[in-house]
Amino acid sequence: MIPAQFEYVAPKTLEDALRLVERHGDEAKILAGGHSLLPLMKLRLAQPRYVIDIGRLRGMNYIREENGRIAIGALTTHAEIESSDLLRAKCPLLAETAATIGDIQVRNRGTLGGSLAHADPAADYPAAVLALDVEIIAASTAGTRTVAVGDFFLDMLTTALRPGEILSQVRVAPLAAHTGTAYEKLHQPASGFAIVGVAARITLGKDGTIEDAAIGVTGLGPKAFRAAAVEKELRGKKASDKLFAEASRHAARGVDPLSDLHASADYRREMAAVYTRRALGRAFARAQGKA
């Protein structure tokens, strides 16, 4: 497995990178950690003329608090997210999700920005970032713009990023009070990708009713999505195992699940319900301060 030839450029600053991305248009691919792009290039399914390596950009690898939100640089690796004390304390869902990606070697190289921009239908992060309502910052030579994550994933391998844009940062709000989150994943046994991955976030009111619920689902269809029907069933109701079980049945509503060697559409649909219920159960326990 050998990639086809390409021209390599490694800009030092984001500005240079953006100019290159703009200049080369769809003849270029952006290389971050390389764990989404290089496999495709080795298979020669992707044969870009230019590879723009943004891995050397300074100041794109950080996790810090900014104006009450947590800002994560696009080049932050899965391993860094997994082990970040800040995230573990204030946004544990991202750390928990990162820890389920591939294996440690992959997590040491793969980046948050690379994974999100690639929008693999079976990637783990999309479920979590949807459940967390993150903001995605896209940079271009014209400046930056903010994309709400709900508008970000358009289709299989397709995002709202425009030609000439580089995903530069992800912003996420710290966990609110009385809130619990969890990521539950049924992994494909060979590749470790998600057959179904469900990220849940639950905020409880004082009386134990569910004030807010957000469910992100990956692996099921061509793109990750919010299970709005489940969320609707939960909001304003008193949390219970029974409620979670009933609400979870709607996890796949409106989605035409994928079918492949590892799981049929039916099985994926059923597992979406099971894993939604499991994620809700764990998120609930955490919202109560348990587990």
Binding site: R44, S191, L261, A263, E270
Partner: protein
């Protein structure tokens, strides 16, 4: 084997490890020769197609490209891939090294590129234009033998490769006498061996010396030399095969492959060394696959659990062509269809079928895992039908100890065994009684728990030459060098088994030296006498015995010489601590080195003794050996997802005497885990068009560390009478004994759902489906907090501090 030993039977660390753990070993891909060219092969994307044209002009003109050849270019120059197996009335299905006219499986080579650089060779593949005319692919072996199916090979009237039958005992009477008969279809799925090192070849030709050297990652260097010489039509003595370090084989490198001959041809033609290293996708598509049988078994039995007869029909999917042993493998299933039971009558009928897939051949166990699987599943079906404990039904059908050597109705003679002994120990170690109680409790709690047993016997130490296509003996040469250092040259070329250590232990024991004084040489046909190779759990039982005999020859010679020098009776000498002692007077001794030196200086030799210390043996075993054992395991199924978790595994194996228990333990672990792979994860899937859709390790799952619990292993020791070491062989027991234990556990877990049998692999969705639509017969609700059943999950309760 002597009663008290110093090295033999001891868990010595391996001599081969220092180079391996430091990255200093050399596998084929690590070899670099001056001026070496690189080979890449274009392969068919079609399972079945006519080749209309191949245009190599663009590839030939590409930078770095030296030569591009098609199947038509080489067909007259390289013979087809040899098959050593002969079955009466078998149709021929030889495979050319590169396809011409027609391709018959996805991955079949169509053209070859030689370039000065590996990357350039790969680039050139994209420039070759092949026009194919797709033909109807034949994928399902049962449909392949229906009338009207497309026929793979010209001149064949259908896709039946052969019919093979074996019958012993009075089957009619057995079925007449039976209280009950059960019939069950079982699929033993197609597997991909997946040695971690793919195959690879380096070939170099020296025109002046007319010497072709082929380095190949193979289990059978000598057979490869003979066959490559024949395929290239060059004298055998002008070919030298060297196996460098081999990164696992499991049968997949017990073969002669197209690329081995092609590389040799290209080296001769270009006068340049060439290297070809298989990619993983090529390995999945074009290195032999294993298993792939559809078995239908009918069992006749009495209400007390006595099995009276078995009628077995096997449809064996052989793939598109024969590799070295392809047609032979299923017949081993017939040979071992009696399992470890006294079954009076057995009939096995095999239909070998040609399909548009890669050839099946010997994969760890080779025919015997299939036999054990169908027998062991059958015994459990009988037990389930009679509502008896499967351990009791097994015990009921074991031959008595006094029956050994025991002749089965399938015509083999089991050398020695104690089946109840290994079963008892396995039951005791696993706490079987308590497990059953815990299972009953778990079921009441709504948990889906299964316990599986298997008692197995396997046929090993292949074997007497009468039963082997290319000879069943093994060679060894022992040379004691003038300094007293010992070289053992063995024809049983290992690939991870550790013979460099175990044979050194043998040599040190016999000659009274340290294992460090004994060096083991293998895998070079120019140095080592002709040998058969390492497969069929034969290296120690046959190769080790050959080494033992050669060592004994030299020991005897040294004893005569030492006796002569010491003035002592040669029969009364002991070899120990680098000295040769008098038994009667321990103070009387002579240094080992002094005797060796005397043999070489040859100034004081007994009359008629030749100088030097060199002995060669070709050991021909009188029979196979028959290792056996009993395995017990516990699984739990997540009813919501169908996920099967292995909670506990206990294995008791009996491979006779052992040279190094550490190595045996390693073989056992590895075998069990490969069986786990077959049971739970692995399946080579071709779609209906013959595309191999498990094309990479991203889709074909093999076991990972975290999939497994702590395995508890133990042994009983029943020496084999077939060889003087009393060893039986340990390489394949795991894949033979463990697969049915796991399958029986899963069937047991599913029995409350009315499931009698489910085919491997036990993938989640398949298991989940079986539980749908059946009202949970167990306690209603699943409890997510689980008491550890049979304890020991992953960390085995042995948390490190």
């Amino acid at each position: 084997m002597p009663a008290a030993t110093r090295y033999l039977g001891k868990p010595l660390k391996r001599k081969e490890d220092p180079r391996l753990i430091q990255g200093l070993a050399h596998y084929v891909d690590d070899l670099v020769l001056p001026g070496m060219h690189h080979v890449a092969i274009l392969r068919s994307p079609y399972a079945h197609a006519q080749i209309r044209s191949v245009d190599v002009s663009k590839a030939q003109a590409a930078p770095g490209v030296v030569l591009v050849l098609t199947g038509a270019d080489v067909r007259g120059s390289i013979g087809s891939i040899p098959c050593a197996a002969q079955i009466p009335d078998m149709k021929a299905a030889p495979r050319p090294v590169l396809a011409h006219e027609r391709v018959r499986f996805v991955g079949e080579g169509v053209a070859v590129v030689v370039a000065t650089d590996r990357y350039a060779a790969r680039d050139a593949l994209d420039l070759i234009e092949v026009e194919y005319e797709p033909l109807t692919p034949v994928v399902d072996p049962e449909k392949a033998i229906e009338k009207g199916s497309t026929v793979l090979h010209e001149g064949h009237k259908d896709n039946v490769a052969y019919h093979w039958e074996l019958e012993g005992g009075d089957l009619k009477a057995a079925f007449k006498k039976a209280d009950k008969v059960i019939k069950q279809r079982m699929v033993n799925q197609r597997l991909i061996p997946t040695a971690m090192e793919t195959r690879g070849v380096v070939a170099d030709y020296k025109p002046g010396e007319r010497q072709l050297t082929v380095w190949s990652s193979t289990q059978i260097p000598h057979l490869l030399r003979t066959q490559v010489a024949a395929m290239l039509d060059v004298p055998e003595h002008s070919v030298r095969v060297i196996t460098p370090e081999v990164g696992g084989g499991f049968g997949s490198k017990l073969n002669i492959y197209a690329e081995e001959a092609l590389a040799g041809y290209l080296a001769i033609r270009l006068g340049k060394p060439v290297k070809w290293i298989e990619t993983r996708r090529e390995n999945f598509q074009g290195t032999i696959h294993g298993r792939d049988q559809i078995d239908t078994v009918e069992v006749a039995f009495k209400n007390d659990g006595t099995i009276l007869g078995l009628r077995i029909h096997v449809i064996a999917d052989l793939g598109a062509y024969y590799q070295l042993l392809t047609p032979l493998i299923p017949t081993l299933t017939g040979l071992m269809a009696s399992g470890c039971y006294k079954i009076p009558a057995i009939r096995t009928e095999i239909t070998g079928v040609l399909t548009n897939k890669m050839s099946t051949d010997a994969y760890r166990g080779a025919g015997r895992p299939e036999a054990t699987y169908l027998v062991e599943r059958t015994v459990d079906l009988v037990a389930a039908e009679l509502k008896k404990d499967p351990a009791e039904v097994r015990r009921k059908n074991f031959p008595k100890l006094s029956d050994f050597p025991y002749a089965t109705p399938t015509g083999v003679i089991y050398d020695s065994a104690n089946y109840p002994g290994s079963l008892d120990l396995a039951l005791k170690l696993s706490g079987y009684k308590k497990l059953r109680q815990e299972q009953a409790k778990a079921r009441k709690q709504g948990r889906c728990v299964g316990i599986g047993l298997s008692t197995y016997v396997e046929i090993c130490a292949m074997g007497p030459s009468s039963a082997m296509p290319a000879g069943g003996w093994e060679s060894a040469t022992v040379r004691i060098e003038p300094s007293g250092m010992v070289n053992i040259l063995t024809g049983a070329s290992p690939h991870g088994q550790g013979q460099e250590t175990s044979f050194a232990q043998l040599g040190a024991e016999i000659l009274g030296l340290e294992p460090g004084d004994v060096n083991v040489i293998h895998g070079d046909t120019a140095i080592v006498p002709y040998g058969i190779g390492t497969f069929g759990s034969r290296a120690t039982a046959v190769g080790g015995t050959a080494a033992y005999k050669a060592l004994m020859k030299l020991r005897d010679k040294l004893a005569v010489l030492a006796g002569f020098l010491m003035g002592e009776n040669p029969g009364k000498l002991v070899f120990s601590d680098m000295n040769i002692f008098s038994k009667t007077n321990p103070k009387k001794s002579i240094p080992f080195g002094e005797v060796v030196a005397a043999a070489y200086t040859a100034k004081r030799l007994p009359p008629n003794m030749e100088p030097g210390l060199d002995a060669t043996t070709f050991f021909e075993p009188s029979n196979f050996t028959f290792p056996f054992g009993a395995h017990v395991c516990v699984v739990e199924i997540d009813q919501e997802t169908g996920d099967v978790k292995l909670l506990k595994y206990v294995a008791v194996d009996d491979c006779g005497n052992v040279l190094n228990p550490l190595l045996v333990e390693g073989q056992t672990h590895g075998g069990i885990v490969q069986a786990f792979g077959q049971a739970m994860l692995e399946e080579a899937v071709y779609d209906e068009q013959g595309q191999l859709i498990t094309g990479e390790l991203t889709d074909y799952a093999i076991p990972r560390a975290a999939d497994l619990p702590w395995m508890e292993t133990d042994r009983t020791v029943t020496p084999s009478p077939v060889n003087p070491l009393g060893v039986k062989g340990a390489g394949e027991a795991g894949t033979i004994g463990a697969t049915p234990a796991l399958a029986n556990a899963v069937a047991d877990a599913l029995s409350p759902f009315g499931v009698r049998h489910v085919d491997m692999p036990f993938k989640r969705e398949k298991i989940w489906k079986l539980m749908q639509g059946v009202r949970a017969p167990l306690g209603a609700r699943q409890d997510r907090v689980r008491a550890p059943l049979g304890a020991r999950q992953n960390n085995g309760g042995r948390r490190s501090k």
